[in-house]
């Protein structure tokens, strides 16, 4: 059939299994939006208030569904507004397809109205990007983009389509959905060596990352941990790789990881790192991280092997496939002495940094929401509330924690929560804060328009808490520009946007508000008052080791 470029874009998206896109119209995507008009019913478009949130929504959608998230934006400012969202998806390996319009090909390079070189701008934060100047190349390029975004380590791909290419006519033939390939590249001798190390280890420790979630290898991870009798710690991105209440699970490692988890990781003789890149937030001082132990590194991205932490043996490839292969090869192992040590330390509450039980504080707030709405997908913004959520929330299924790990973008939450709610077709809790929420709270309008089942918990400590914490610890308590003193009336704000809201200054008020949110149809905001000096603990200072861990603040 003969179609114009814009129609070809939509046809190809449908062919690739896409029924949902996020975006914002504009001058250079008039053609594309005209095609959306024609295809309504087959593909649903969600308009946000700002392109950044559309990109975060596509990212959130991808994280909860495992399918690529698609976002449209116009040229110039539309495209540049996507950049934070694209970078965020890149750092957290999220398959996002961004389609931007651009000025017509004969206007490119002339600093035309709303022209930017978005391919140049996004080059370092995409897996790949394309500018399509020939309508004949449009469908093949989009198919290729899907393949790239989903294959191996997923990531965002941007396709820039000039306005005249959207209008140009061309023959279109639908094709099969692109096949994503997840490779394995390792030699048998490395595999044998890994098996040998695991068999010989007396104190093995499994360190799971986001790769386990992306590879959907949670049951393999659990089986593997049972087989080799090892505890499991996780990076923040790996938190949903295993159920939080699994007896093998020790919680998050790293800067704000638990005392026992970091201690046991340090005392292990073998770390089996699965689908993780050893971010500096997770390892602390790299030179001392692997002292006295060996590291078996399993990851699909060869460039991660030895990038941050040297690997004794590496297995490059799809985590699920490799774990299956290891499970087949390794007999049941028991490490009774190690297991006893793990159990003892895990049960030891001495070093827990628990907060007071009966007051409204981050921990009681999170635990309350967790109890009332345990099956919600949880999204966060960035800062203290994010770390508290990572520390205290009990996750019960993979892909249920949507958070900005690598980039740490404040303002991620609203868009991501919206995308998560649309992708999961279920309830979502967003933990955010007065700092982060003010960045993109305009998206309350999007949540209301679509009547999304979203509970927004704004933890208001009247400060940029994480920066304040660092100022307190490392900059002599000189609180430069982090005390907000904003007069925002969150409940009135929620109502102004058309949603319900409640203020909670006590735990009782908070519990009531959460129950009300649960029974409410549509978005609901809870304004929770938190102490300004509440810290995220424990904390290993940047580039520190376990011995530097701060337990009291």
């Amino acid at each position: 059939m003969r179609l114009n470029g814009a129609e070809i874009i939509i046809e190809t998206l449908i062919e690739q299994g896409i029924d949902t896109v996020f975006g914002y119209p504009g001058g250079s995507v008039l053609g594309l939006y005209d095609a959306l008009y024609k295809y309504q019913g087959k593909i649903k478009h969600y308009i946000t208030c700002h392109e950044q949130a559309a990109a975060h929504a596509a990212d959130g959608y991808a994280r909860v569904t495992g399918k690529p998230g698609v976002v449209f934006a116009t040229s110039g400012p539309g495209a540049t507004n996507l950049v934070t969202g694209i970078a965020n998806a890149y750092l957290d390996s999220s398959p996002v397809i961004a389609i931007t319009g651009n000025v017509a090909t004969n206007l490119i390079g002339r600093d035309s109205f709303q022209e930017v070189d978005i391919c140049g701008i996004t080059m370092p934060v995409t897996k790949h990007n394309f500018m399509v100047k020939d309508v004949e190349q449009l469908a093949p390029t989009i198919r290729e983009a899907f393949k790239i975004a989903l294959s191996d380590r997923p990531g965002p791909v941007l396709i820039d389509v000039p306005k005249d290419v959207q209008a140009a006519l061309c023959e279109f033939t639908p094709m099969e959905k692109a096949m994503a390939k997840r490779r394995c590249i390792f030699v048998q001798s490395d595999f044998d060596e890994a098996v040998k190390l695991i068999k010989e280890a007396k104190r093995p420790f499994i360190y799971a990352g986001g790769g386990v979630v992306l590879s959907e290898a949670s049951s393999q991870l659990e089986e593997f941990a049972n087989l080799i009798d090892a505890p499991v710690g996780a990076s923040m991105m790996g938190l949903t790789a295993i159920k939080s209440d699994n007896p093998r699970f020790l919680g998050m490692t790293g800067m704000h990881g638990k005392y026992a988890t970091n201690k046991l990781m340090g005392e292990s003789d073998l770390i089996i790192a699965v689908g993780t890149r050893f971010s500096d937030r997770a390892t602390g001082k790299k030179q001392e991280f692997s002292n006295g132990k060996k590291v078996v590194h399993i990851d699909i991205d060869p460039a991660e092997i030895g990038k941050n932490i040297p690997a004794y043996v590496s297995l490059i490839g799809d985590v699920k496939m490799i774990l299956n292969k290891l499970i087949k090869e390794i007999p049941k192992i028991d490490n009774p002495e190690w297991s006893r040590e793990v159990a003892e330390l895990k049960a030891d509450k001495k070093h827990n940094c628990d907060m007071e039980k009966d007051t409204l504080n981050p921990q009681t707030a999170i635990e309350c929401v967790n109890k009332v709405m345990p099956d919600n997908i949880v999204a966060t913004d960035v800062g203290q509330h994010q770390m508290w959520t990572a520390q205290y929330y009990k996750f019960n299924k993979p892909r249920s924690f949507v958070t900005s790990g690598g980039l740490g973008s404040m303002g991620f939450g609203m868009g991501a929560a919206i995308g998560s709610a649309i992708g999961s077709k279920g309830r979502v809790t967003l933990f955010t804060s007065d700092g982060s929420f003010h960045m993109n709270m305009n998206e309350c309008a999007t949540a209301v328009t679509n009547n999304l089942p979203l509970t927004i918990v704004v933890m208001d400590n009247n400060a940029l808490g994480m920066v304040r914490q660092w100022q307190k610890l490392f900059f002599g308590a000189r609180y430069s520009c982090t005390t907000l003193n904003r007069k925002t009336d969150y409940v009135a704000l929620a109502k102004a946007f058309g949603m319900e809201g409640k203020r909670a200054a006590t735990l009782k008020e908070f519990e009531e508000a959460v129950i009300e949110a649960k029974n409410h149809n549509g978005p609901f905001l809870i304004h929770a008052i938190i102490d300004s000096d509440q810290k995220v603990l424990p904390m290993i200072p940047p580039n520190g080791t376990f011995n530097d861990m701060i337990l009291k603040g």
């Binding site: 080059m123 390939k181 959907e216 060869p302 990038k307 799809d318």
Partner: protein, 182 residues
């Protein structure tokens, strides 16, 4: 760690922006390029790049891996300098108005360089060879007054019958999954 000179040979898709992608990757990851040369190959859809860089072993590994990840890079290899033919072409314009012409011509013959242009004031020389030889020639000419100097950057090819392209897809096997079938 010990700094060494490395030479990377790449086959890349002959697409617009590929040079930017590669040089951008070097820039943002903090790798220094000593020289870079690029041109089409026997296959018009493929370009060949030769990049030299001074770095340590860790960075060399990272360069290889990060380059391999680029969609436009078909293959990249750190060449074994002992088994590689390396050449660079230089064009050098020397001032000869104040004399020195005969000594320069003598050097040209010894270095197997070639005069490509001649005026009463200047002499333009072409020389090809390995970097050390070219450097030595440049140093010899310097006292006479180099007016202009251009170097192409090193280009390199393996000795023997083996080709760079022969390494494509080695040691890999592919496991295909359908993205949403799991």
């Amino acid at each position: 760690m010990k700094q060494e000179k490395y030479l990377f040979s790449l086959l890349v898709r002959n697409e617009s922006g590929v040079l930017t992608r590669i040089s951008g990757l070097f820039a943002r990851r903090g790798y220094n390029i000593d020289s870079l040369s690029v041109g089409v190959t026997e296959d018009a859809a493929v370009s060949r790049m030769t990049i030299t860089a001074t770095c340590d072993e860790y960075m060399k590994e990272q360069i290889l891996k990060q380059l391999s990840k680029l969609h436009d890079v078909i293959i990249v290899e750190a060449m074994d300098l002992e088994a590689t033919v390396m050449r660079e072409l230089l064009l050098i314009k020397v001032n000869v108005a104040q004399g020195g012409r005969s000594e320069i011509l003598e050097a040209i013959s010894i270095f197997r360089a070639k005069v490509v242009d001649l005026t009463p004031e200047s002499l333009t020389v072409e020389i090809t060879g390995e970097r050390n030889k070219c450097d030595a020639f440049v140093e010899y000419l310097r006292p006479f007054g180099i007016a202009e100097l251009c170097r192409t950057g090193i280009t390199a090819i393996k000795r023997g019958a083996e080709r760079l392209a022969d390494g494509i897809g080695k040691n890999t096997y592919e496991h295909i999954i359908v993205s949403d079938e799991e």
